[in-house]
Subunit: 399 residues, 2 copies
């Protein structure tokens, strides 16, 4: 008896692991942790401007934003701006906050011809002289944007051809602006390395990622929504980055022409206890929930021992450090959900708010995405579904 | 033959309309458009402080944030801040941006004992003297927070008892801070009135809302995710408000003990063309998509007629106003999705970026939520699912 070769079956962990090892030879992000960061760090030291402006959209900005947002309080006194949308009012408002004469523009586009990025670059050209003194470029080595940079003698950093946009945060795409902002990019890569080697040496992260991926895939028709519930507003950018990574990588037609797709949702605690939580608790059982907690915020601000007239019943929160309160809120929500017994949920705890720990979280999510992609037999790294819209747009604008 | 009274059946539009009319007698938000705003406007004129700080979470801040974010460029030179989370690093960072000696604190809590809000109020007390000179309160007339305000002789505004938090943006909860920021709150209410009377007089909005609600309910098991894809970054706050309104109102156990729940997603165009769009196009067919467009941004910034070396192929965007580009991007995405023929999608167009038009959009979404809630036979206005977590938290903190 013989089965058709492509018929959908969930492979064994060992088979998937072999496929991932094979993929590692031609998918570049696995190898980013060991890159040499000397040139990036040297360049970062030379940047004099106060306003750092990223021109980039999607994979060219989301990862950088995630790390920046998490570690904003540790950055130097430069200010990081993101210009990405073509909304004229939003753009006007954001450009109004930039000192154009004391700004470094970082143009980031893998393909080099992203319409949003080039539109904004052209518009900035009409406001201020853009040249090698105030503009650098991060792109593929043979893109049209690279030609532009060479012609203008601008500093260039390259996105490896085999690294896709949403897997590029640990390439120069993220490392260059983050180094300029004073963050420790070697410690970022150390976090990646830790997870990468643990996974490929079949240690702790191998078991965790395989186990979680298998659960998600085996239950994907029942639980087709994967919620991340982050108990820190600093993870707002991480949530957005996760939504792109998960949605765009896994929303695909697989080798059997079946439409796959797991819907990512990003929530922030405790804020979304007052919003989405009701839907998780009493709504349809179509969601998995992953809580993310920060073990030690390394911040000591505390609710003072003050009794407010009328509100004395809340005096039990007196002397409570906020870092303890938010984690107790997380634990209470986790307990409430676990007590229902029919909502799959897990908890990831980050030790500290630093480069190393966020990088571990992000790299492990990239690996998880790759493994889930292998299980459901899709190409995790392309995005063919967005091409039709691009073609229609070009026709509209050229016609 | 007789059927059990409660057995699930989708009622006729007329039956639903009768039920909504009945609901209008005891659910307060329907009647907010006709409130007298004199006191609010008079008070707003007296506010001298530069930093306006809202202490409120969930329904006490999301609606205000939505309108503020949309109309930020039209506000006066005061600055609006939102303190809501208990994340200590985020709170420290946000408080650092406030001039505490030139700030008006607006404490908003319907119940009056929201733990996040009271915690932050207490913490602020340890940083600056909080009294009737720099603090006002918006709450229910008989709450503990009202006692606090009376004791301290603070200015008070009231949330009507029959108006729930997520339906309270057009009560003093939203109108007081927005009036202080210089926005035209009467024009906000005019937008609400327009939709409200059109609906209850069975005119344009009646047909649109009934039609859409019925489609959503009849197809809720197939399309259990409702995406809003807003083509303006100014609608970022609206998206968040929608997520609370939809998720918390409709995620309920209905009268037959069936777990209902439609999952709201908020996207921004064109940014999310580079993220979630791939999942919509090639992923599982479990989503409806509502596009929101702004007809006229009333902003003339334009891509200049500059040819950049290497990037000449993009010269077809020269001389294009950004307001046209973003709408062409929206139309291209809409066409691409419509061409697939199996993703239900509709388009809402807002005429202009002003108080009146955003209020129309928001009020029509409140009505849509109410109608869907009636169809699926739930209580749209409570949130029993979040109580367990609150009880567990209290036990943890008191124990």
């Amino acid at each position: 008896m013989q089965y058709t070769k492509n018929f959908y079956q969930i492979k064994s962990n060992d088979e998937i692991f072999e496929k991932i090892k094979e993929e590692k030879t031609h998918i570049g992000y696995y190898n980013l942790p060991s890159q040499d960061t000397t040139e990036i760090k040297e360049f970062a030291k030379t940047v004099k401007q106060k306003d750092i402006v990223i021109l980039g959209i999607g994979g060219s900005s989301l990862g950088t934003y995630a790390i920046h947002k998490f570690l904003q309080h540790k950055e130097n006194d430069k200010k990081l701006h993101f210009l990405e949308t073509t909304d004229p009012l939003d753009m006007d408002y954001k450009i109004g906050k930039i000192d154009l004469n004391d700004a470094l523009f970082i143009v980031i586009s893998k393909s080099g011809t992203t319409i949003e990025t080039v539109s904004i670059l052209k518009y900035l050209h009409s406001l201020v002289k853009i040249d090698k003194e105030n503009c650098i470029v991060i792109t593929e080595s043979d893109s049209k944007l690279n030609d532009f940079a060479v012609h203008n003698e601008m500093k260039r950093f390259f996105i490896p051809k085999d690294v896709g946009g949403r897997f590029s945060v640990f390439s120069p795409v993220g490392l260059v602006p983050l180094a300029i902002m004073g963050l420790d990019i070697d410690n970022i890569l150390n976090g990646c390395k830790e997870v990468n080697s643990s996974f490929f040496e079949k240690k702790e992260f191998y078991d965790e990622i395989m186990h979680k991926a298998r659960f998600i895939v085996e239950n994907k028709n029942r639980f087709n929504i994967n919620v991340i519930f982050s108990y820190s507003s600093l993870l707002e950018g991480f949530n957005k980055w996760y939504i792109q990574l998960w949605g765009e990588s896994l929303g695909k037609i697989n080798i059997n022409m079946t439409k796959q797709g797991l819907t990512p949702i990003g929530l922030l605690g405790p804020i979304d206890q007052h919003s989405f939580l009701q839907l998780i608790v009493e709504g349809k059982r179509d969601k998995t929930v992953t809580f993310i907690k920060i073990e030690d915020f390394q911040n000591e601000i505390t609710i003072p021992a003050i009794s407010l007239y009328g509100l004395e019943e809340l005096d039990y929160i007196n002397n409570l450090p906020f870092k303890k309160l938010i984690n107790e809120q997380a634990d209470a929500t986790i307990e409430a959900i676990e007590s229902l017994r029919d909502i799959p949920c897990d908890v990831i705890t980050i030790n500290r708010v630093d480069e190393y720990n966020l990088a571990k979280l992000m790299f492990s999510y990239q690996l998880l995405t790759s493994v889930v992609g292998k299980f459901v037999q899709i190409n995790t790294y392309d995005q063919p579904g967005v091409e039709t819209g691009k073609i229609i747009l070009k026709e509209k604008l050229q016609g």
